[in-house]
Symmetry: C2
Amino acid sequence: MSYPNLFSRLSTRLEPSGIRKLEQLAKDTPDLISLGPGQPDGTLFPSAEIFSALSVMFDSPDTTARALQYGQSRGNPELLALLVQRMRDQGVTCDTSNILVTAGAQQAIDLITQLLVDDGDSVLVQPNTYPGALQVFRARGANVESLADQAAPMQGRGTKFIYAMTDFQNPTGEVLSEKERALLLATARQRDTFLVEDSPYREIKFSDHDLPPSLLEMDCGNASPDTGRTLFIGSFSKIIAPGLRVGWIVGPANVISLLTLLRQGSDLQPGTLSQEIVANLLEHGIDAHVARVRQRYQARRDAMLDALQAHLFPYATWNAPEGGFFVWVKLSVPIDARELLDKAIENGVAYVPGSEFLHDTRSSSNLRLSFSIADPQCMDEAIRRLADTIDAVLKNTTSD
Amino acid sequence: MSYPNLFSRLSTRLEPSGIRKLEQLAKDTPDLISLGPGQPDGTLFPSAEIFSALSVMFDSPDTTARALQYGQSRGNPELLALLVQRMRDQGVTCDTSNILVTAGAQQAIDLITQLLVDDGDSVLVQPNTYPGALQVFRARGANVESLADQAAPMQGRGTKFIYAMTDFQNPTGEVLSEKERALLLATARQRDTFLVEDSPYREIKFSDHDLPPSLLEMDCGNASPDTGRTLFIGSFSKIIAPGLRVGWIVGPANVISLLTLLRQGSDLQPGTLSQEIVANLLEHGIDAHVARVRQRYQARRDAMLDALQAHLFPYATWNAPEGGFFVWVKLSVPIDARELLDKAIENGVAYVPGSEFLHDTRSSSNLRLSFSIADPQCMDEAIRRLADTIDAVLKNTTSD
């Protein structure tokens, strides 16, 4: 059977995720300490609370039947109402017509891209950004351009949206300042594009300082998201559990309606049971749980920073992120981060090379180190192995 | 903000599902008996078995963490292995490289369409077919053509696939004979297209007669799906529970690999907890449960056929489906099924008009009546209301 001529253009643009490949590699390598995947720590999942929610749910035939039956494409009404409340707590005034529940942030990114992008349209991204978003933009035929190269002539037909991670960004761990946010918003207004704000890490913060307002809040103030151009993406993957696949989009009601129609064709609706679990947890309050989550990741960040200080100086510089999962390391020595990776894995440590986060194919001297799942006891050993690898590569280069 | 010029072509082709609108209407109308939605009966969900699975899962920190963590894009390895076994029991020899777990059959249909269809490509469908598939085909820019109009000149660039429901079809309730299946397969081979077999109702059969082999089995015999052109879609929505969103695709490994990449961008992976639940149920065996399901729906079909016999003759003819959820009614009087619907709802009964299942905008004298959720005690009353409505419309027409 002559397959190739039966496939769509889209099929030719699909690329495997470098990070997912790395996860497999990590599993196949014994004794490897992986600082690669941005997975949440499984021992932090609120399993007692989830099982308690399930026990109540399965105690009544009515709630059981509802939790297992088809539901609305936009999401369970109870969860939508709780999300309205949650957004209000974050300074955003919206109602359920402004929200769509999605299968995690990934589905949110893909639906938005499908709704807006035709072949040759442009999407603007931060200089380093989430590879799962880059994959989607490329697959959907977008010209991906960096906000850093704004002087460059615009290719393609027009810019459809700016995609930005504002809080404890993946991969850099950075928080955009209020001024930087204002600039993004001004750019979106000037170019008359949508502004897509992806914020899965916002609640994983280590200090008591308030974060700057979300782009959505800055865009609309106290008015409805209907008055703005921002599509805010939230997710429970990092603060509750990713296996439930629950995220959401907040935006203008007419855009949300179209996204809902699109998702109806994509997979009908979000999983009902997962939504019931999340709604139950939100009803009972997750503040205490989120506080535990923050504390755990802060301790791991501290362990990583200590280890970096002990072993990686002067080979590299790095930041001290105030939240999220990642430390962004820049090599001070002339080594490509991707080439270093093979040798690092041989030495028993893995990370994600910076090139994965670039919209083009440039090499990168950056490494993304995730502290979210690495045991603090192993952290010192992991960074020592990384330093040893750099050391060996440098010696090898010198002796050549 | 000038939205319209920021939307993609796809956005202009999104249509709401008539059936989902009807569900809302039904909820808003008191005392309405709905024979509309093809929902499974919520009291049939294996809730005790599911809660038992959850109790075991949440009893161990390891299995809990696994059930809530990220998983593989293709699906949980245990579930994939169980699906291989399940397909083997149905006469299909495959391995896990031939299977992708999806968020129900709907995601399977959408992913396949995205992988194969560019604007202007053709998709061939049965004369009456699943509206959720038609929605996707149209949104993705396909020219949808009926297998019944094969003599018509082919439009567009080429036919990418034939989409067929083989077992207790939605909406007609019919089972394709082995000869009809052979003809579909021959057509797919002749035109060198894929053959998409959507079979969510296969296990809901009321007689002990064996069904004809699946198209996948006929296509590949004892050989691997790699040797054929069939993409088989299965779902647990009707036999376990739709709120879990678990379906699957079986096909050639290279096609499954591409579909897996596409789904990675779409939503990363199927829900982990849902898959663990389904895998646990399959491990313990669901035959006894499926037998209960069959028995319940058979009793409801019988109640519907009795009521039709009592009230709808001679206004209409209908079939006696040997499985599935639907009776397909053809009016013998000159009334359009869509026009009849408004009056039927006023009279307290709803159904889905046949025009919803057509690839074009023709009117239809067919009604799809779903017996899956209607209480047998209400069935007689529902059909009496339908007959009264027809009666009233006919009198009104005559007196005009």
